[in-house]
Symmetry: D2
Subunit: 376 residues, 4 copies
């Protein structure tokens, strides 16, 4: 059975490269179209990557010996990501069924370009923040709000698009606590307030990203735009479909302190939660998290971790280098679950920001969309 | 005018070495007696430090060309810290007016040893946590609760000591937010709740401390005992002298997440505060902090920073490597002062853990005690 | 077909744990016996590892879903490594055909203990340096001097051992340039002198190893014993079997500067070579290295990298984090091949010190010994 | 006595900022003119530095309480570095007696701009590499070749300049071994060959410089242009003044491997030397280095370290974080002095790259030029 050919917009960036790695042995999808900025256009992907291969070794997700897969990939011609017509032609020719957008350009440009792809009939599964706040664009975590995908028909109608659409994923900083939060809500425990301090990896800033000078014997107590995203996006993810739009949830109130630390990959979050009247015990929380499964697990999607939340009992875990790779780097690791002296519960959570929080999360969203029939 | 000769218990450890550096050019005190474990006893301090000189360069506090000061220091004979009689003899001979305790031994042993020094008539200015919870032992931050020193006469009476006594300083993890917290309380703003996440430097664990393996591309979400200290000690510092004991304050409720990060020196804290009914504006908070002066500033103690709290306006400050050295490494640097989405106020605070949070803080306490007449 | 049961001495250390990871999915061998210090003896391997699991994620060598493999491994009872009788009983019972020695004890103790295992009939494939200098103990790199294994019968005769024997592997610091050096010699190019500066990873020092304090914004220009090993061991590896002993090669003269750098895994070496009269061009050198295959490749041993030497053309490679994992972390990566201004050739080489340079190299040696019929 | 007013070209860069720090309390010079790129021109220096203050704390060289020095400095107006006329006017008005060039622009542009300043009558003491290879431009290390400054009259004549001239300093990578090398030559020991591997700090690449992504759990085995400079520049420094030009020395032959490591400041070099027929013992080498003094020491220049070469006896020193600050960060620290197995002598050397190797070295050169009467 042949695989679905997919395109990657922003294929030469750090997240774009991660997409090609994770797709290298994917059972459903294969990279068939790569696009980047005009200065890479026309080169082979191999040439375009010269001096810009950020990642090491084989894919952490689907290892094995490919049938010349990498050679095929590297010989693809890089297209100009601004040339939507080129992509539309590939789409029509059956060479690009949908695109992953890992565009790193200015917000307004990205927004318009993703809309142009969708208008041209091409589904866009995006990592960029540009379209996250449109009320008819679902912001998906496949384990949390898969039903938000069902706003797609309405989005198409709103926009006058026939086959194209846009779905987005949320910011990488909140992935480590969003699934644990959702698991508690789903189990019937209201969460009123959430205070989180993140210690985020440098890969979250792309490449060249944060200067080395600022990360030796140092950390940065500020990441532009990150706290706003961490505070606002969860409410959309937890929101309800109402009258053709996603209406933000009212709770929890969230306050985020976001820091950059000298770690390559893996965002860590220290979280304190205040429950509503009904408060679970620490043991009950661990049971809920350990037992939690979402649609990706029920349907056994290829990119889905078997256990979306791994509860660690060792006092000094999770740690970025040691736990970020758990279950294809797609699981969230949670540890230090204990009562909070100010709120009710506190814990430390970790997720791999360029896999779970970026390319891997995007692929899981695409698997969800395929399952739901939105990818043709 | 001759200087007061002081002893250092635990002189070969990281904090002990920092004491000798900071005292090298101190105008009031001079290192005259060094004591360590039995295996160092009898050696010259130079020999005892061979292969164990952890610190670099000249003292960050009182630089200048000493009159052969370092040579004199290194030729001191190291005494056995367990030999209280030896110290008592030095005390009587006028060669050791009081001791700084930087002992790193087991809590119970340290407690007893410090008590033995005090019983022998020698004032003990301690960094160790062993005696922190005795109700008649003041836990001093010279800018915050200098009046707690006045429990000393009562302590002597309780214990049957004539001249000796014990004062302690709190844990290094809370020094960065304790003075800012106090400045707000003093200005009349009640603080109900405080949630803090710390990112602490490795020197806080002494030497050899945290293995390098655990701090490369990594952080540790746990420091044994640190959260309990961070949550409990502020309440004693803010407590009241009542009926011959320090009675803990009732507020604020504190919850601490303590992490170890790959930074050499400088503990960073992300703090969220909930005020009582009266809530200052961000601008008012900055004004209070910038204007705050304590007794050490009013009396111009040698180790006192001119400004105990430095408010930084740049969005990405304070940073450990760049700000830990501020004002002899004795000032607290505070930045990112802004409203909190869950509580009222949030900010990031930084202090140098082995200077302000250890040896420098101990020296400042000794300056306070001398000012108050407790050092003879 | 059932696997050969193997034992691991020093199973709770960093290298011991790496052995269990690499063996988890090994097609020939399976971990059946784990031994460590007396304080771990009697515990389950799971208990013995509590708070001491140094490694992350799945094995880099043979990934895949095991049939409960890890659970079986963790439920093994840890034996006392000093109890040779226990191992001999397991050997007789068919539960431990040979042992990997990752002992970290004192040299003389290790030497005697390894000899006791061999005397008890148990082949010892060792990582320790204790027995490296016995003239009848082969120091094997499977691609370089597999024929040295054939001294085993003579070793047995010398020692009066029937089935047991000892083979060792060389120090991790020289693995990155030893195969490239050998490939040139084999191609007929004499090497007169070799000057190398290494930048070595912290895992080379085991755990807890190098204190974090010494590796933040810092490096150490000295590693005890490392330069002597780096200079002497190559000459034994390149030596000849003569009159029942391995006689050191006379060349090349080697000078090593060994440094510790803040890298978790992966030793990097900057090498300058002086050839004899016949000098290959840079292009010829690259051809030789790229084409080089040893016995492990010819016989397709499971742990063998397909290409023992990977020549990188990018100017800024190899890099530890990005290249150490190449080909199951068993390949040596070489880059910056260029003429030397003082000697003839210079290059930078990298190998993974706890895989290629320790546990993986040990397994490859065992594969070689099995192939040659020495493992029963 | 009033200070000499000096200008800094490239004042907003990392080296430019270091100049202002080191000059803050300089007894002879004061920063009176700051120039940078057109986008900073017209702003106050304070505004121009907003978000770009790379350095921490007070000057490492001349600490003390300035008379409002920093406030005066920060209120200077930044001039356009391309506007030579503006500088010439300041020169004529007595507000800028000479300039330090820390320009970071393209080589050809820098070369022309520095020449234009000199042509306008303004002496240029440069850190840039642009003019290093003009045979009439001296490349000065004040302890090594102060007599090369005496080519200035000839340079002026060659170029038709009346008062202006250009002197340069060599690359930061070679400062740690150049003075030790010179001390041996001066003592009568010929050096035939020198093989060096450097481990260089990130500040050597300026700001933003090397991406953090490339320096976490990693090192880079390549620095563009650095090996060529390290190999060629020493020969000019050791060259002779002959027929109005500096003629390169013939020896030693030098081969350099240059690496970037995760260290903020301080370049470390592992050096092996081959002497001529006359070979000093290790003890003799240490004696020579410890006793070495140059003109800056003899004349007691303000920026001169008292001991240009500090010989460390501890086996694991020098280390960047601990030794880079030695003697105002101007001394070279040397350790591990021992015989070489391939050549005659080996050692590890360290110098602070942005102080000794950049701004501090430039200031010392200016002190030399003032002493020699070339600065008016």
């Amino acid at each position: 059975m042949s695989k679905i050919p997919v395109g990657i917009l922003g294929a030469t960036g750090m997240v774009g490269q991660m997409y090609t790695r994770l797709l290298a042995f994917h059972p459903w999808f294969e990279t068939a179209y790569v696009a980047a900025s005009p200065r890479s256009a026309g080169k082979s992907y191999r040439e375009a990557l010269a001096g810009r291969r950020y990642l090491d070794g084989p894919s952490p997700a689907f290892s094995g010996e490919g049938s010349g897969g990498e050679a095929d990939l590297l010989s693809l011609t890089v297209e100009d990501a601004n040339d939507v017509g080129r992509a539309a032609a590939a789409f029509k020719a059956g060479n690009c069924a949908f695109v992953f957008s890992a565009l790193e350009m200015d917000k307004e440009e990205t927004k318009k370009l993703e809309e142009a792809y969708a208008a041209a009939g091409i589904p866009v599964v995006s990592n960029a923040s540009a379209n996250r706040w449109a009320p008819d664009v679902p912001m998906l975590i496949a384990e949390v709000n898969p039903h938000h995908a069902d706003i797609i028909p309405l989005q198409r109608k709103n926009r006058g698009w026939d086959r194209g659409f846009i779905v987005v994923k949320p910011n990488c900083s909140l992935q480590s606590y969003m699934t644990p939060l959702w698991a508690l809500l789903k189990a019937g425990y209201e969460v009123k307030r959430l205070l989180v301090t993140t210690m985020q990896a440098v890969s979250g800033a792309g490449y060249p990203g944060v200067p080395g000078w600022d990360l030796i014997d140092n950390l940065l107590p500020y990441i532009p735009g990150e706290e706003e995203k961490s505070e606002g996006e969860p409410l959309k993810i937890l929101g309800a479909l109402k009258d053709g739009a996603i209406v933000d949830a009212a709770f929890p109130a969230i306050s985020a302190h976001c820091n950059r630390v000298p770690v390559s990959d893996g965002h860590t979050a220290c979280v304190s939660l205040e429950f509503g009247a009904k408060k679970p015990s620490v043991e009950e929380v661990k049971r809920i998290w350990t037992a939690f499964r979402g649609l990706p697990q029920e349907q056994d999607f290829p990119m889905a971790p078997r256990r979306p939340i791994i509860v660690l009992e060792e006092q000094d875990r999770p740690q970025p280098r040691k736990d970020r790779g758990a279950d294809k780097a797609m699981a969230v690791s949670v540890g230090r679950v204990r009562p909070c002296k100010v709120f009710d519960l506190r814990f430390t959570a970790l997720s791999h920001n360029t896999v779970r929080g970026a390319a891997g999360g995007g692929i899981l969203n695409a698997e969800l969309l395929k399952y739901k029939g939105y990818l043709g």
